[in-house]
């Protein structure tokens, strides 16, 4: 860890348990996933090391908010966000946060909320225990941001469904193939009505080893190399009805909730990445001298640092607030219910906040890494330093993973100014 500690003043508002969570995570990181290993993993590429998944699962941080009777730890969303923050700090390439926080925890928790017992036992529990991987597959060659604009289909056949179609830019395809598990797949169960394309959309858990699942070569991404991104084609994949998530034709709502949860955690993780980047950079600029002064003395650098630091602290408070809102929403909704009647916060309130953190946090992390590379010069640009690794990693969440920046801006605008100002219908 860096000598500079930019998180000490966060401590005062944490509960005893949250302090211990944070301490455990950082101790774990120092032992199992030091920066040297993060950088090594990114140089070697995917799939993500199973020993780390297993050891994080043993700590109980995968799908922490899942109730204990389903194998989870019964954490609050604020607790889980603090964990995600530390995960981003430990692995600023964001591969760990992407695979285990956003995908497995954000989406996996949503599976837990709406999945039947079969889904709990076959897919959720093994993922919590680190024995399998669960992923999410929404994007298709035709597009991703337009969640309802997709073409894969499912047709009922007795007690089964027959799935066809193609999914692309899916995180964790290599990991899932290696470890076993399933993807949450959205398909059409009826034609898309022109005025309401999100209707007639149903979600299924599709096991990676189902007949007719053809995985493609993973993409060669710019960053977060330790976790794979790939695609698959479904050719007459036969799935029993008990692998269906929730109600038929309601997939869109579950999907939006999955996005919400994943976005909170990726927001928190990005704050962690920013903190790591700024701490490591602070160590450097305090030590490194040019023209007889440490770099940190030059206003050109110091003021940039101050600016980034201030925005990081603001976003830290923001993810905490967002996580608390989501927690409240879940508590008021009751177990397994989709919340319709707003209580403390309306779903649009929460969605707006979630979009704010999802938009700003990865961008700040990228900006911090970018500035740090400028401060360090050539050393910062080398791939055996943390900045290049972080920069390329968080870029994935700037360009679109879990929803692109412009989508977040639309949500914020829509939920604040009113639905009549939505630019695209």
């Amino acid at each position: 860890m860096a000598d500079t500690d930019l998180a000490r003043d966060d401590e005062f508002e944490l509960t005893e348990e949250q302090k211990l969570l944070k301490e455990s995570l950082l101790d774990w990181g120092e032992r199992e996933l030091p920066l040297t290993r993060v950088i090594e993993m990114n140089q070697e590429g995917h799939p993500y090391p199973e020993d780390i998944i297993k050891s994080l699962a043993n700590l109980g941080v995968i799908m922490g908010p899942v109730p204990e009777e389903h194998g989870g730890s019964g954490l609050s969303w604020e607790d889980q966000a603090i964990i995600a923050d530390q995960i981003g700090y430990i692995d600023p390439s964001i591969a760990t946060a992407a695979g285990l926080m956003a995908v497995e925890t954000g989406w996996g928790y949503t599976l837990n909320r709406y999945g039947n017992e079969t889904i709990q036992e076959k897919f959720v529990k093994p993922a919590i225990n680190g024995d399998q991987f669960v992923g999410i597959a929404t994007t298709e060659p035709g597009g991703g941001s337009d969640v309802a604009g997709f073409e894969s289909t499912a047709e009922r056949d007795g007690d089964d469904w027959i799935l066809n179609g193609e999914k692309t830019f899916i995180s964790g395809t290599e990991e899932a193939q290696k470890m076993g598990g399933a993807f949450w797949v959205n398909v059409r169960t009826g034609p898309a009505p022109e005025d309401a394309p999100h209707k007639n959309m149903t979600s299924f858990c599709v096991p990676v080893d189902a007949d007719g699942m053809n995985f493609q070569e993973p993409y060669r991404d710019a960053g977060r190399m330790a976790i794979s991104t790939g695609g698959f084609i479904m050719e007459d994949v036969r799935i029993p009805d008990r692998f269906r998530l929730g109600e038929v034709d309601k997939g869109f709502y579950y999907t939006m909730e999955g996005f919400d949860n994943a976005r909170i955690l990726i927001g928190a993780s990005s704050v962690g990445v920013t903190r790591r980047v700024l701490e490591e950079a602070a160590d450097y600029i305090k030590e490194r001298e040019t023209f007889g002064n440490p770099l940190a003395k030059y206003e050109g650098i110091q003021f940039e640092f101050s600016d980034l630091y201030t925005r990081m602290k603001a976003l830290r408070l923001m993810y905490q607030q967002v996580a608390r809102m989501q927690e409240k929403r879940y508590q008021e909704a009751g177990k397994g219910e989709r919340k319709r009647e707003p209580k403390t916060y309306s779903s649009t309130d929460v969605a707006r906040w979630i979009s704010m953190i999802k938009w700003k946090a990865p961008h700040l992390a990228k900006e911090a890494a970018d500035k740090a590379m400028h401060w360090l010069g050539a050393a910062g640009y080398a791939d055996d330093y943390v900045f290049e690794t972080a920069w390329k990693g968080v870029m994935s969440y700037c360009v679109g993973a879990e929803g692109g920046a412009n989508i977040q801006k639309i949500v914020i605008g829509r939920e604040t100014l009113g639905p009549e100002y939505v630019p695209y219908k």
Partner: protein
Amino acid sequence: MDFLVFIKQVPDTDEVKVDEESGTIIREGVPSILNPFDEYALNLALRLKEGMEDEVNITAMSMGPPQAKDALKKCLAIGADRGILLSDKVFGGADTWATSFTLFKGVEKMGGADLYFSGQEATDGNTAQVGPELASHLNLSSMTYVEDVLDINPKEGYLTAKKETDEGFIKLKSELPVVLSCMTPPDFEPKIPGVKEIMKAKNKPLDTWNHDDLGGTEEEYGLEGSESQVISTYPPPSKGPGEKFEGPAEEGAEKIFALLKDEGVCDD
């Protein structure tokens, strides 16, 4: 069986920095941690508990200020079943004698245990005295520099342990109860408490006992009850940098050689 582990919250000495100008310690912002030797003692107690047929209850006990509760919380998360903090203004300023007395009173109130553990020493004071002194109070045998407990047999009332001596390691057998001062082995990796353990710790008993709870007169505790008194502290005298040589390796070696001869370390 009851195991009792004595623990202390200490400043993280790895983080301690010295004010270059005044030569004093910068305490501000130095995080407090569970004394690493005590952490090992607790881990050892836990490992023994797991290997035993009898039901074992592990209590962690500490004397310290109210914030020392954090260290006990951590012990509960690591796996202790109960925490007891002995905390009172009256206990402040205690030397090892008064500390061991206070802990002894805590043990008395608790009703004693079947096996006692402490760290070999605390990383702030490094005295290594509290364990053996406590054993004297309890009229028990003590064993210091214990690196491992190899076997424990509660039915026959003994344990065997591996202990470091000035000459190497020895294997000892001791009657129970005994007070073990535990020495962290080099390959020790402390148990990292997981989420479930941390959440479970929330519901474990953590009591604070003050002077009224322990009884006895105020003079027996803290500064007043201490037999050794610190009368002054000062920064260590800085030696001042000595001679510095930059030049060819050969000449550097000659410089060293000359000094070795001056010091009489090698023959003339």
